[in-house]
Symmetry: C2
């Protein structure tokens, strides 16, 4: 129906962001500050190990430091909280990322909330979420921030648009809904109990798929001209959207891979550089 | 269209809640604990004075204590924060209500967030909002809690229903949207920038009006059989809903007055009794 949809090139958006960050990292180096992201991995899930490695490598490529902490799968909540508290107090660490998911015996929410707000570069704390919801402070979760960055990079209008978000997780569906709302979209939040999902999606100008089910969003659910952001990342590099079918109707769409994913990592790096700059400024004031 | 809509009798729902609370207040008295709500009013807005007086009287009628603090309109943010900190530390105070709005020179958000979480019975803190959003801890804002209590008192189904919330304030539109979402409604959040509001409301099974504009929601916006909750309270006892027109189509509707309003006050009282019980239990454990 729509001809020539825009393929929202996340890899390119991420590269632009990282070029700007590289300049900021150089300026921080002049002040003898090297941004450091501490990643905490509990257990030996191979996918999580890959994610953590990717994030560490992305730091290094920008001249930042990544400190990788790998804890045994038998680690207790209390032990994990101790590790996080040490990282909170370490002035050389600017950002802390606790890789989700942790083993089921650990209280993940308690562990997330132990991360101090100024180092919560992955946007996982309860308080950070509320600040995002109210439109001030803190770092939003990285995937929601990435979705907003892609919309902005392509100057796609948000105000007054009807955004339908499929998914309601604390680090994706809920915060992206509130970010879109705060930018004056009308937002509908859908989930597994939603009835007539297809017809609701058909009314969307902006569709955010955050379900975690491969090719879940069908082509005939898409209103011609809609913008589609696929935050899914399922086994075999498959998104939550039936890309080929949705491409026929969308005015703009993110591919998987090279869509939301690379921008999510760029947001993590940006937040870490922000945190390092904030810490450096605070130190200058104190000195 | 629909015959015999249910008039959702907020006064009756509130009475039932208050009868239960009276029993709990009696049991607390046996432990020498009298629940106390501290109300803080800054300036001399007559409507605010009325609200604070109503809340204080409601406490007294239940055998609870209300401590009224009335500060001069010239009070600074720092002075207000000091008052709140003193109330936080006072073991005889179980709940703190800062009457909105405060004079414009005061940082209201800072003042709200100074209220300790366990005494935030009005549900105004940033962290309390996030806990509501994530479905744990804390006291939700009272009007959102009242809306849920009315739906539950009349056993109106929420799961799978499409709820349209008009308004997105931090203490009403946003938290009620998340409460409905956590009860498995599909939720659309509308506001002043929403386009085609009437057609969106027409798709709603549950309509929550939280706009602050008299008779804003029109009768022909209502899908026959919808449930309408009017959280508006405008000059002259007028709600946000054109009641007579909406009554023709709704299956259930709250009147104004005697709808959401009295249940909101009952929720404030319930949270204060909850807080007093929590404090009493904590003391028993420490003793």
């Amino acid at each position: 129906m729509t001809t020539n949809p825009i393929i929202l090139d996340g890899a390119r958006v991420a590269d632009t962001i990282k070029e700007q960050l590289a300049q900021r990292v150089l300026r921080l180096a002049e002040r003898q500050v090297v941004p450091c992201l501490a990643t905490v991995l509990v257990g030996d899930d191979p996918a999580s190990e890959t994610y953590v490695r990717m994030k560490g490598s992305a730091c290094k490529r920008l001249g930042m430091v990544s400190r990788r902490i790998h804890l045994d799968r038998e680690t207790s909540t209390e032990q994990l909280l101790d590790v996080i508290r040490q990282l909170n107090e370490d002035p050389l660490v600017h950002g802390i990322l606790l890789q989700h998911p942790v083993p089921p015996h650990i209280d993940e929410r308690a562990a997330f909330d132990a991360i101090s707000l100024e180092k919560d570069v992955d946007g996982v704390t309860t308080l950070g979420f509320a600040q995002t919801a109210f439109g001030f402070g803190a770092f939003p979760s990285c995937t929601p921030a990435a979705i907003m960055a892609i919309l902005d990079a392509y100057q796609l209008p948000i105000e007054g648009k009807h955004a339908v978000v499929i998914g309601r997780s604390p680090i994706l569906g809920k915060p992206v809904s509130l970010l879109l709302l705060n930018r004056n979209a009308t937002v509908t939040i859908c989930h597994s109990k939603t009835q007539e999902l297809a017809s609701i999606v058909r009314s969307a100008d902006i569709v955010v798929a955050a379900v975690g089910r491969p090719r879940f969003v069908q082509g005939d659910w898409i209103k011609p001209g809609a913008v589609i952001l696929d935050a899914g990342y399922n086994k075999g590099n498959i998104g939550d959207v039936d890309y080929d079918a949705c491409l026929q109707r969308a005015s703009a769409i993110t591919p998987v891979p090279a869509g939301v994913g690379p921008v999510t990592i760029a947001m993590l790096l940006r937040h870490t550089v922000d945190a390092a700059e904030n810490a450096a400024s605070a130190q200058t004031i104190m000195a």
